[in-house]
Amino acid sequence: MQSLEKSLEQLLAKIPYAGKENLLEVDYIQKLEIDRKVVKITLRLEKKPEDSARIEQAVRESFMALPEVENVFFLYTKPKKTGLESDPGRIVPKKVSLLANFDKVILIGSGKGGVGKSTFSVNLALALKKLGRSVALFDADIYGPSLPMMMGLKSAKPTMTANKMNPLSRYGVEFISIGNLVEEKEAVAWRGPMVHQAVQQLLRDTNFSGGDYMLIDLPPGTGDVQISLAQLTEATGVVVVSTPQDVALIDARRAMAMFEKVNVPILGMVENMAYFSCPHCGKPIEIFGQGGAKKESEEQQIPFLGALPLDPDARIGADLGKPVVLEKPESVIAQAFFSIARELEKLVD
């Protein structure tokens, strides 16, 4: 036969708190004592007295239904870590995730390379920045880091403070990239465990100031880095960048399946290089076919965040380290970035 305490806990788990959760889940019960047929229960003091009264009634009714219970007393305490949480025999998993000083950690992924993921990451970061958010960037593309060039700090080296690296900063956005630490040809020959270590060190040993958003530019595909990041951070979610091409979509599907496996929510899809505006007549030309990513996101029931045109200005801006969102904020593509940034904000708030 199970103990009375166990039965009472099970009853508490059936009482809803604020509609969604139950009393056991919200750290509401501070203490539960049983003295023969009398139950003494210590509850967290609620801001509204009517809430406490309602819960008290529900708990009393539920406990008194047991033949082992004759009376229930209620005590109240201010919320603090006492009772069940500090039970000495209890082990609670520790949170050890990195980048905890950011409100949201967003991964930017793609199924295959060359879809413009890094250009997207940089411009999205600057769009969010222009909307008034504090943003940082992390280049997780160990094999082909491109943030240093796109942020216009290709040969800059981070300085150190007490064994920690200070991130580089440009346009009001802090960032770090392996590209600023090792020579271009050095990183590509690393194997899995080294990559994991490099990512871990970069994340752990960089003095980011923290803020609203950390955007992480992933390498393409579903490899070691993605898994490392899924293990080391508590990512808010992933944005998948794809071109309308079928191949890119198949790979994007694979990438999404992997993120599902590690419980990183897929926030939405972005279609890059959706069309090219003819410089002569201004008509959109759909080079890679039409609306593939949009259709795919509808099929998979994930939000479609927006379509970006193939714009020479974006490419030139990326090469020169002058992102298009800052250089030509009125352009169609920059406006599309602002719209995607706003969509993203709605999703993660």
């Binding site: 788990a13 959760e21 609670v92 990183v264």
Partner: protein, 117 residues
């Protein structure tokens, strides 16, 4: 899905909005999914129950990203990452066929047990 609550007290408790599970430590240690305990290619279990301390218990635990926990066991084993979905599947399995009689007898063992029940 991430459990609403997860903690160790005599057994591993997994609390979901509409269900709750208890996993005995011995069963949990035996089902460690790491490459030292399971052959990565054949999926065959490489540890024998005879080699595992019947009183094995966790001494530390960390979250792994959004999807699981890493357990440090009293026998110094700590390489296993248990995804939440895996834990739930093991728990469901155990409710169907309890792991075995001997783990039932032993899961209340270990220094963390207190007898106030």
């Amino acid at each position: 899905m991430k459990p609403k609550q997860i903690y160790f007290k005599d057994v591993l408790h997994l609390v979901y909005p509409k269900e709750a599970f208890e996993l005995p430590y011995f069963a949990l240690r035996m089902t460690c999914p790491c490459a030292m305990c399971v052959d990565e290619i054949t999926g065959q279990r490489k540890i024998d129950r005879k080699d595992i301390d019947p009183k094995v218990h966790p001494i530390d635990c960390e979250y792994v990203g959004n999807y699981g926990i890493k357990i440090k066991w009293s026998d110094d084993h700590s390489t296993g990452i248990y995804p939440f979905d895996y834990l739930r599947a093991v728990a469901l399995d155990l409710t169907k066929t309890p792991f075995s009689e001997d783990c039932k007898h032993h899961h209340h063992g270990g220094p963390h047990h207190d007898h106030h029940h």
